[in-house]
């Protein structure tokens, strides 16, 4: 049996510290283990520099410029940051905004809250699927095939699938016809679409696959021999899950949650189509200011969104201390 605790694993961020004696030894033999790091990271680093870092810097620069009718004026102003946080009438008892946060912060908050809800739902719905693929399906070929089947809806353009929501969930949609034919309801229900319920369901449906993948990968690497051994020692299925499977799948869970978290925080299209535009997310706010060419304010919103995403990702990586779990 393989001893997992002892095996050498690199952490998610960098490898584990290498003992000084090993380093010395490596130096002595003049043989570096593995390909040189520099060559491995250079192409991607260069790519990211050109297509991510430089544009990102220009976004940051924009956020300090002034938006005038007809273009940006180079400047060094904090007015858009102030506009983001400051709420007119915050201290005025008479004002409707008395002691309420600015709409942008509130939108970020509600986006965050909603994201958290959907993440939990995705985990609940997706984990058993990953478990099924990794533990119940024996052959690699069927694992891949069944996993790919879950990916297929993604290969139809999102914009096309979005159009199909209405005939599916609308008042005269397929689901309502089904409910009426089965005598579950006697007249069409309207809460399926353009409602928080429909919106939540849609998001789970669209993004759950993103967490199935990584969890599936972590689970499939668990050696069946350990599970067998645990069973032989009389562990109940619940114990096995709590003590072995659960902890060993945590990295996959963390990575899946990062995927879903980041995508949902920036989500804007589903809100329009499935919620009928009846909510705003930080993504729609950015889009609305982009659409009126107020790029500095769109940039401020984007930077605040990125900041909160970064915090979220760090928190996820903290909760699941990946280096230790592995």
């Amino acid at each position: 049996m393989q001893d997992f605790a002892q095996a050498q694993h690199s952490g998610l961020i960098g490898g584990q510290p290498v003992g000084p004696s090993q380093v010395a030894e490596a130096r002595k033999t003049r043989r570096e283990v593995g390909f040189p790091v520099g060559w491995l990271v250079a192409p991607a680093t260069l790519w990211l520099l050109v297509f991510l870092v430089l544009p990102l810097i220009s976004i940051i620069v924009f956020s300090f410029w002034t938006s005038a009718k007809g273009g940006l004026v180079p400047d060094l102003t904090l007015q858009y940051y102030a506009g983001y946080f400051y709420n007119e009438g915050f201290f005025d008892q008479e004002h409707r905004n008395f002691l309420t946060l600015s709409v942008f912060i509130r939108t970020l908050g509600s986006t965050f809250y909603f994201t958290a809800v959907v993440m939990v739902l995705c985990l609940i719905v997706g984990y058993p699927i990953a478990y099924f693929l990794a533990m119940q399906v024996q052959s690699f070929k069927w694992q891949m095939a069944l996993f790919l089947v879950c990916m297929v809806p993604f290969w139809t353009s999102y914009l096309i699938r979005a159009v199909a929501w209405l005939p599916m969930l609308g008042r005269r949609g397929l689901l309502n016809s089904l409910l009426i034919n089965l005598d579950i309801v006697d007249k069409p229900v309207s809460f399926l679409l353009y409602s928080e319920f429909g919106y939540t369901m849609a998001l789970v449906q669209i993004y759950v696959v993103l967490c199935v993948g990584p969890i599936f990968f972590s689970l499939s690497k668990i050696d069946p021999a350990i599970l067998e051994a645990a069973r032989d020692m009389g562990a109940t299925p619940f114990q096995i899950f709590r003590e072995i499977i659960g902890p060993l799948s945590l990295p996959g869970v963390a990575i899946g949650m990062i995927f879903i978290f980041v995508i949902l925080m920036g989500e804007f299209a589903t809100a329009v189509v499935v919620y009928g535009g009846k909510t705003s997310t930080t993504g729609t706010v950015i889009l609305n200011y982009y659409a009126i060419a107020n790029y500095p304010f769109a940039a401020v919103n984007a930077l605040m969104l990125m900041l909160s995403m970064m915090i979220g990702v760090v928190v996820i990586l903290r909760i699941v201390d990946i280096r230790k779990e592995l």
Partner: protein
């Protein structure tokens, strides 16, 4: 572009001119050198690029233009957001912008387009007064907001002047008046006022356009019709006016008045066809599309007047030389009548009705422009029959409709504030 109008608006809208011009010249020289053997062929086939919405960028239209003009016109259709962003930020990536007058408050100061010389527009005289003076007929009302005549006239350097002058921002083209569309079977009555938008009878079955600048106009027309408030200028509201309007909308939204907010033409069609809504703010061709799918739909003629919009052709500031001549040829071609007839069959109007008339059958002209009953079945531009014999276009004749524009699509001075409050409305 001159140094003068480069002003201090650099960065996103303008910038890096000299270097780019240099690069452009260099690239041009290389290209010319490499194909020196076939100068004529290259010149003849040199294409121009045009971008816009699916309203005017239609393969049949640019295909026909290429045939008529003898050089390829490559159209790129985009959604509104993508189009606006590209027009403003990448004027080196297109020659022609098929834009809209309500965005001129951004485009004129940005100088990404060059002033169009009306001396080079052969049929400038035939362009109606709708876009020149704002009055299609002498006694029509001009309407509030960004009416074309307020956004049209420029001086030689592209600065706004009170017209008329020799230079214009954009050559007036297709336009229409938006209104409410409704399913008469479901509403059970004729809709004649914007106020019906907030009628409790239709609670939960109403949709509004989710573009803040335009959505608030429909709402303001409705609020005024109900006598709740009087806006000084619906095309340019003040902060307190926006506050009143948004607070009212929030109240309505919390009552569950709105079924959805739509963003694309197609969405508005599907909402009505699928029975989700019975009344919504709507574009005229969308009503045609709904009827084509067999669902009854009426394009309301509202006593308070309609909300107008107007599109046209602009030329990028980057275009010079022979390309510029081609651009002028192309925009002149838009006035030739054929394109106008093409868009007429979709329900849009063109700035040169007399030329359009030559390219429409008399029955078509009577139906689309004169507002008379269809004397026979009429097709859309692609040959599908969309008008049954005897049908009448709602809202009367062209001249009748455009005599009564209440407000034009606009970009307000308080736009940022409006978008902020609209965000609050949607979150409420």
């Amino acid at each position: 572009m001159t140094a003068k109008n480069g002003s201090k608006h650099i960065g996103v809208a303008n910038g890096g001119v000299s270097r780019r011009q240099f690069m452009g010249t260099a690239a041009g020289a290389v290209a010319a050198g490499s194909v020196a053997g076939f100068p004529n062929i290259v010149q003849a086939a040199d294409p121009i690029r045009t971008i816009g919405l699916g309203v005017s960028i239609i393969n049949e239209i640019q295909g026909r233009a290429s045939k008529d003009l003898g050089f390829p016109v490559r159209g790129q259709a985009l959604g509104y957001g993508a189009m606006f962003g590209k027009m403003l930020n990448q004027n080196d990536q297109y020659e022609i912008a098929e834009g809209y007058y309500n965005d001129m408050d951004v485009f004129i100061p940005s100088k990404v387009w060059q002033p169009i010389d009306t001396k080079r527009i052969k049929e400038w005289d035939k362009v109606t007064n709708l876009s020149k003076t704002g009055r299609l007929t002498p006694d029509s009302s001009q309407g509030q907001g960004d009416a074309p005549f307020r956004q049209l006239w420029l001086d030689e350097d592209g600065n706004r002047v009170k017209g008329p002058s020799r230079y214009i921002s954009m050559l007036p083209g297709w336009h229409n008046a938006d209104s409410l569309g409704y399913n008469p079977k479901d509403t059970g009555r004729k809709i004649e006022s914007w106020g019906e938008l907030f009628s409790p009878d239709f609670k939960g079955k109403v949709a509004l356009l989710n573009v803040p600048q335009i959505g608030v106009m429909d709402a303001s027309l409705a609020i005024e019709a109900l006598g709740l408030f009087k806006f000084k200028d619906k095309g340019n509201m003040t902060k307190p006016e926006i506050d009143f309007l948004i607070d009212f909308l929030i109240k309505k939204k919390q009552e569950g008045h709105f079924r959805a907010f739509w963003e694309t033409f197609g969405q508005s069609v599907n909402l009505m066809v699928s029975g989700e809504v019975v009344l919504e703010s709507m574009w005229s061709p969308a009503v045609t599309a709904i009827k084509a799918e067999g669902v009854p739909c009426v394009y309301a003629y509202l006593k308070e007047g309609m909300r107008g919009w107007h599109g046209g052709c602009a030329i990028s500031a980057k275009v010079t030389g022979k390309k510029l001549d081609q651009c002028y040829e192309y925009i002149n071609w838009w006035l030739s009548g054929w394109p106008g007839a093409f868009v007429a069959r979709q329900g849009y109007y063109m700035s040169v009705p007399e030329n359009v008339k030559k390219h429409l059958e008399p029955e078509e002209w009577d139906f689309w422009y004169e507002g008379k009953p269809a004397a026979k079945e009429l097709p859309d531009p692609f040959g599908t029959i969309i008008v049954e014999k005897g049908e009448v276009r709602d809202g009367g004749s062209y001249w009748n409709r455009f005599a009564n524009i209440a407000v034009w699509n606009s970009l307000m001075d308080e736009n940022d504030y409006l978008v902020k409050r609209w965000t609050e409305f949607l979150s409420a």
